[in-house]
């Protein structure tokens, strides 16, 4: 059963999408792209990647990306 907290998150996302004038699917595309980049460096935990976009009172966008990884991949440095 959905709780009011779930509904609040949904509402905030819907309002944000309308405010940003971007389709709802854009966050999913962004998530997929970021996942591709981070996967090159980290062993990402499934479903832990969360991109969030917030708009402040001055109309500036705050983009936050959080993720949990289980290990760091060995990357050859130049």
């Amino acid at each position: 059963m959905k709780t009011s907290s779930d509904e609040l998150v949904r509402l905030q996302k819907v309002i944000l999408g309308d405010s940003l004038k971007i389709p709802n699917g854009v966050l999913e595309v962004l998530k997929s792209d970021i996942k591709g980049v981070l996967n090159s460096y980290f062993e990402l935990k499934e479903e832990s990647l969360k991109p969030e976009i917030e708009i402040d009172e001055e109309g500036l966008y705050h983009i936050k990306i959080s993720a949990i990884c289980t290990a760091v991949k060995k990357v050859k440095a130049l």
């Binding site: 059963m1 009011s4 907290s5 509904e7 609040l8 509402l11 905030q12 819907v14 309002i15 309308d18």
Partner: protein
């Protein structure tokens, strides 16, 4: 000084006309001279909710054509409340400019001019918004209604209506207490407009449209009385729909569904 308030929503079916009628009755019960204006021309129902659909002689259409004066078209509800009707025939006759002139005329005789706007942001909304100085946004605590309401607030701002209060209708206190329904505070925070009123779900209003606004023991009546005080500025108290469902007795009440 007279105030002109458009009562609007984004989504239809949230109880806008019911709120318009009951707020008008509540303000009148507080001694204010009020006129409720039918702004939903063509899909008018304010006359029905106020119970005077058979008393309408002239309407906005006849006023626009010069067949009646604004004051002749008024339908008295009680000593302090009148309805300014607009029936289907007025739809293509009453332009936004004529509507604004009618509102200006009504302002001279009433403390409050409440315009019941249609749902949505189409032509009828344009006419209703053109005549107003302030707004009351009615929504239910459900995502589609809040989303459309949020858009409507932005549209109102484009008409220069920046003083907008939020009224959350059909709140189920037991669901808010159980954290199954968005709380009025949460909705107001997301919408970023001040909360003016909380109206509980009420079977009597669902059936008959009108609340007993003079009866303080009636939850819905009391909530409308508080809303009228908030709008009027005489008191800034909000209806508490949750506390009766808190604690042991509240849990028992929820269990019994009363």
């Amino acid at each position: 000084m007279s105030r002109v308030i458009v009562i609007t929503s984004g989504k239809g079916g949230v109880g806008k006309t019911t709120v318009s009628a009951n707020l008008a009755l509540s303000l009148a019960a507080k001694g204010k001279k009020v006129v409720a204006v039918e702004g939903d021309i063509g899909l008018n129902n304010l006359d029905v909710v106020l119970g005077v659909e058979d008393k309408v002689v002239y309407d906005a259409g006849e006023v626009a054509m010069g067949k009646a004066t604004v004051m002749q078209a008024l339908v008295p509800i009680n000593d302090r409340l009148s309805l300014f009707p607009a029936t289907t025939g007025a739809l293509n006759i009453v332009t936004a400019d004529i509507f604004v002139d009618i509102i200006k005329e009504l302002k001279k005789s009433f403390d409050y001019v409440l315009i019941d706007s249609p749902a949505g942001i189409e032509d009828n909304f344009h006419r209703a918004a053109m005549g107003a100085e302030e707004g009351l946004l009615v929504t239910t605590p459900h995502i589609p209604a809040v989303r459309d309401g949020y858009k409507t607030v932005k549209v109102l701002a484009s008409y220069g209506i920046t003083k907008v209060g939020l009224v959350i209708n059909r709140v189920r206190g037991e669901y808010v207490a159980d954290k199954m329904m968005l709380s009025p505070d949460e909705v107001a925070k997301v919408m970023q407009i001040p909360l003016y009123g909380i109206l509980p779900e009420d079977d009597f209003v669902n059936l008959y449209g009108i609340a007993d606004v003079k009866n303080k023991r009636s939850g819905i009546g009391y909530s409308y009385s508080l809303l009228a005080s908030y709008v009027d500025g005489s008191d800034k108290k909000l209806y508490d729909c949750v506390s009766q469902y808190g604690g042991f007795i509240g849990k028992f009440r929820r269990w019994l569904n009363i």
